[in-house]
Point group: D2
Chain length 190, copies 4
């Protein structure tokens, strides 16, 4: 049974909500196991992330979905600390041909989230992973992909409580991404 892991950092809880939606979408696909893994700031010392239990989960995954807020035009430093810590896996190309995807949250509609998705794709390419994007037309009647992103899922959240932001449309967009990645993991590992 393919395993889809969602690994993310959240500073104020908004990205957690989107991550949960992505996992929910993945878990809705029969025959797929999911993990939801938060990057914990306590695992970062002097800018370096370390947590072998997390890496063991990712090593055992068939698909990895990366998530982070967009801070100052790119992935959060905490996510980047995790990404840098994947260097050992990169050197051995241990994640080669796993499925990858990504998502990001920032306070404005565009808000340079494209930059963060580009980075997540660049990371995945260094790992020789296979990138699966959102797979949805923009601005659908039910709100899916209302912001117009394609390489992954994006959501908007500013100073509001995580109870209300990301909104329903953005969380649905996250679910759709999770479902698509899980279906891809099944098809790829048939």
């Amino acid at each position: 049974m393919p395993t889809v892991s969602v690994i993310y950092f959240s500073g104020s809880g908004h990205t957690t909500k989107l991550a949960e939606a992505v996992q929910k979408g993945a878990a809705s696909v029969a025959g797929v196991k999911t993990n939801l893994i938060a990057i914990n700031g306590d695992d970062i010392a002097k800018g370096r992330y370390s947590n072998e239990a997390v890496f063991a989960q990712l090593d055992a995954s068939d698909a990895i979905i990366f998530g982070t807020p967009t801070y100052m035009g790119g992935p959060s430093a905490q996510f980047k600390a995790f990404a840098d810590a994947t260097g050992g896996r990169w050197f051995g190309q241990q994640w080669r041909s796993k499925i990858a995807s990504g998502f990001s949250v920032s306070s404005s509609p565009a808000g340079d989230k494209f930059s963060t998705l580009q980075y997540l794709h660049t990371l995945a390419m260094q790992h020789s992973m296979i990138w699966v994007g959102l797979g949805e037309m923009p601005m659908q009647p039910n709100g899916v992909n209302r912001l117009g992103s394609f390489a992954g899922a994006t959501a908007q959240a500013g100073q509001e409580s995580p109870d209300v932001a990301p909104n329903t449309a953005d969380k649905l967009t996250g679910e759709v991404l999770g479902k698509r990645v899980a279906e891809a993991a099944l098809r790829w590992n048939k």
Copy 2:
């Protein structure tokens, strides 16, 4: 007196409206001359653009603002035909240290316009130009930068008439960009 030229392609008239707003903003700065130059499809043969009168105007400019719709995730082919035709100026670095900026229009809030602004910046860097962005915080009360772009001005327009899209906020964003570039051209050439 510094000259600011706005050179743009527009397929259905929406980018023309944003270009006019950018020029209006530039022209509002005392002591600056402006040009508004449309890229004409008739000047493109087999994918190559040619119009020496346009190049003469740009050669004589102190600042050049590039504009194009985002088509399929990047600058329109017509704009790219113009960009490729700047290769001669690149080879001689004739536009070195001129001021540059850019703007783009697409149908959804994000809609990969960041990709187009990145390209316009990359083009300017090959020409050793100096890049000036929007210079405004996102989602201001008057609508300036409502979409959350920083490297240039972005606007939203789909199937609506160019009479109504881009909307007032996006055109105001364009004006602000034009004004900022004109002020930069004055300061840079003092």
Copy 3:
């Protein structure tokens, strides 16, 4: 039997050589059919590309590998004219979940080819395609990935004859990309 199509523009013949290498690599995989399709400048009028026979081939393909020189920091205008002409397929999402990849050539080692690969990925994401990169560590003893690209294959060629540039290492890199994409097309369509 999965079909892998390589569609590319070449201005001076160097990208043709890399395209041929990519096709050779794809054709080396048993059980895969390949097409090598050049974008012809004669099919572009006023910046718009049109060739329904080419589109029929692509519609019938399971994987599409995009190739273009890097001109002025991005894909050539001729390739972009083709990309813009895929808008109809985008609107109907007819290429959804096909495999995609890409390659580019420019005169210096880096030479902003990353920008072009990013664009090709962005195009593929708008089409909801699945992106497969090079899948190789940089600077291998046999010259594979000597320049250090990951999202696709890159090669270096300037004013030299296409008989000698791209060099053997870069063409081998192209072959490796073609082989990887063909294997991915087989696995994805099993």
Copy 4:
């Protein structure tokens, strides 16, 4: 007298060498003051950077040049921790219209350093800074810009000692960048 600050992170000493070259180039311009500031991992707790003395130096600068190795396809986490910590300055737009530029080091010729330069530009744009790139044609006889980058300076260094990598050509490229930024700071603040 304009002040040009070079702020960088270096993991193994190679980026330090490039940063020193950039500072040397800036300091060669009469009438300019320079700072060379290393980002210290000890100033990062749980992924967050804090050092008010460094920020005071940057606040008092007219130009800021950002430098970082490219780790896993983007800026190092340590640099990103610094970048995230600039959020307060962003909120007040305190660095508005300062000059900005950047440089990066990785082990292969291309090596996704373009991605890092793009990020540094994106960061600068959020701060409404003015971006100055390298301003040099690629592959010059004296080795300047041998790798073919335009938005900033790039250098190559792998497992070699920082005594020999980056090489002379790449350090000269760094000097050229520093000189160009210092001259721009003088011109901009005349």
